[in-house]
């Protein structure tokens, strides 16, 4: 493990920001710290950087316990949420700042900064001030500034939060490519699931100061281990009494269930439905066009479900009665989540 957190605790007054946080990160990986706001993800990032001090526990970077090493000596590059560019310095001076602090010679600084400016594609804008740059350009400068002193670890706090939706998409892939190319171990914080899934090699999910789950995007999406993770991704519907929907078993201690849109099949009354006997009737409350599919809100057994339907399928109208079949769902048992397949589907051995 390249970066390791062991039993970290941190409180701000009465608020417990980190509750026995432990995890490890391999060298060269791009890690997404994902969680709702107030879940303690930024605190974790700031403690690794040394911007905050944990109340107890150890932080280990490259085999060294860094608890007592000041932030400046941890060889960390940090990209702040609003970039914190030096407003009264040019792009060149911003990127060169860390190198000047390290008293590198002028020739070296000029070359290294030139290299980085080319890397981020801002050649010719060296003399601009941050106020003369677009949001995306500022982010690139912040990125280059953090990388200039050649840090062992790059930390990014909500790196895309301050950028227009349009540019964000482009920057995400840019940043991922860049970090892969440079091979620097990186951790970024985000509250946006799509962003985490798209950018990270591995996702760490935080909630209420605790780590809920660690894994690749696919793992955490497909196999949520905890109730929180199961409910966190996608447009999940909550079923308080999931046994109202047919042919799901009920493990001991099972409470409610989470259903994702892709777990649901919706058919019109006159369409064939293979599992008709296990389907329930629902009423369509809302139909919304989502570009490449239709999104349906359906009331069935008192619960409001969200489902998708292809554009080439026959149109469904608000108020229509439809058949709803649920292939699978996540059931919560205490804090754990368990995946259940619909028994009739299993018997029918269908694949989706």
């Amino acid at each position: 493990m390249y970066v390791e957190l062991k039993n970290i605790n941190k409180s701000f007054g009465d608020h417990k920001a980190s509750d026995d946080v432990s995890f490890g990160i391999e060298k060269g990986k791009l890690i997404g710290l994902l969680g709702p706001s107030g879940s303690g993800k930024t605190t974790i990032l700031r403690m690794i950087a040394g911007l905050e001090q944990q109340d107890s526990g150890d932080i280990i970077i490259d085999g060294k316990v860094v608890n007592n090493i000041p932030a400046a000596k941890r060889e960390i590059g940090f990209v702040f949420q609003n970039y914190a560019l030096f407003r009264y310095m040019t792009v060149f001076e911003n990127i060169a700042f860390g190198l000047k602090v390290q008293k590198k010679d002028k020739q070296f600084i000029r070359e290294r900064v030139g290299e980085l400016i080319e890397l981020i594609g801002l050649s010719g804008l060296e003399k601009r001030y941050p106020s003369q740059l677009s949001g995306g350009q500022r982010q690139r400068v912040a990125f280059a500034r953090a990388l200039a002193p050649n840090p062992q670890l790059l930390l990014l706090d909500e790196p895309f939060a301050a950028i227009d939706a349009k540019v964000r998409q482009e920057l995400r892939s840019w940043l991922k490519d860049m970090i892969e190319k440079l091979g620097v171990t990186s951790i970024f914080v985000t509250h946006d699931q799509d962003e985490a899934i798209e950018v990270a090699d591995e996702i760490i999910i935080t909630n209420n100061g605790r780590i809920e789950q660690v894994g690749t995007p696919l793992e955490v999406y497909q196999n949520p281990q905890t109730a929180f993770t199961a409910g966190f991704f996608g447009q999940t519907a909550v079923l308080e009494n999931y046994t109202d929907f047919h042919t799901f078993e009920k493990p001991n201690g099972a409470e409610k269930a989470f259903v994702r849109p892709e777990f649901i099949s919706v058919t019109k009354k006159n369409e064939p439905q293979k599992f008709k006997s296990s389907a329930v009737e629902g009423t369509v409350e809302r139909v919304a066009f989502r570009g490449n599919n239709m999104e349906l809100s359906i009331r069935a057994n008192g619960a409001l479900l969200t489902a998708k339907r292809g554009l080439d399928a026959a149109e469904i109208h608000v108020g229509e009665k439809v058949d709803v079949f649920i292939y699978r769902l996540f059931v919560t048992v205490g804090e754990k989540a368990v995946l259940l397949e619909n028994q009739s589907a299993r018997e029918g051995s269908v694949f989706i």
Partner: protein, 276 residues
Amino acid sequence: MKRSKRVIPGFGLSMGVTLSILGLVVVIPLASLVVFTAQMSFADIIKTITRDRILASFRVSFLTAFIASLINLVMGVILAWVLVRYKFPFKRILDGMIELPFALPTAVAGITLTSLTADTGLFGKFFGIFGVKIAYTRIGITVALVFIGIPFVVRAVQPVLEKLDASYEEAAGVLGASRSKIFFKVILPEIMPAALTGFGLAFGRCIGEYGSVVFIAGNKPFETEITPLIIMSELQEYDYPSATAIALVMLIASFVILFATNLIQARSAKILKGDS
């Protein structure tokens, strides 16, 4: 190890320098006032501050300061409105002039206002026609205090008015409210906390004002003698206990005003932060 580290350097140094200078310049002198007060008996303090001449000076000081601040409250709101909402020639100069009472030494203001309003002065002559005397009367004191207090309300209201979204009034206008109604029902309640803050600051400053008032006041006991002047004369007679007792009343008054102002200010700060 438990001690939380600060990332930005210089906390110990800057806190140390700040506290040392603050201690030497402000805290120790203030403490000596407390020490000196503690040596006086409560009965003596009461006896001193209830002397007729001193009570009269309280009346003069508080009354003139209150009236002057009231005038500045009205004029301050008008000035702020004009400076924020209208465009007209020389506006920036007008805006810059507001600060003059902060920059001009009080003694200079004092002698100038006195010479303008004395019998031989420009205004003195004019008002003399109607039999109104300004210099060496309470009117004169009020004039000097109006001068001193001008910037407070204007500078408190200006930023709030700037922040008040024009669409807010437009919305009221679309709903059919008349202009005067919009002003009194929509805008005035919004700027009132800021205006009162300015009023409080001006009032606090005016009751303690000395330089600009002594020249124009005439300093006639029971009529135009202000409290700061009484403290001054007690000091000149080396009657420190009396001076301190009267000063205490002034201090308590200004702290009460300051406290009330802070309460109001907290409200207007909320408005200012609201849509930034």
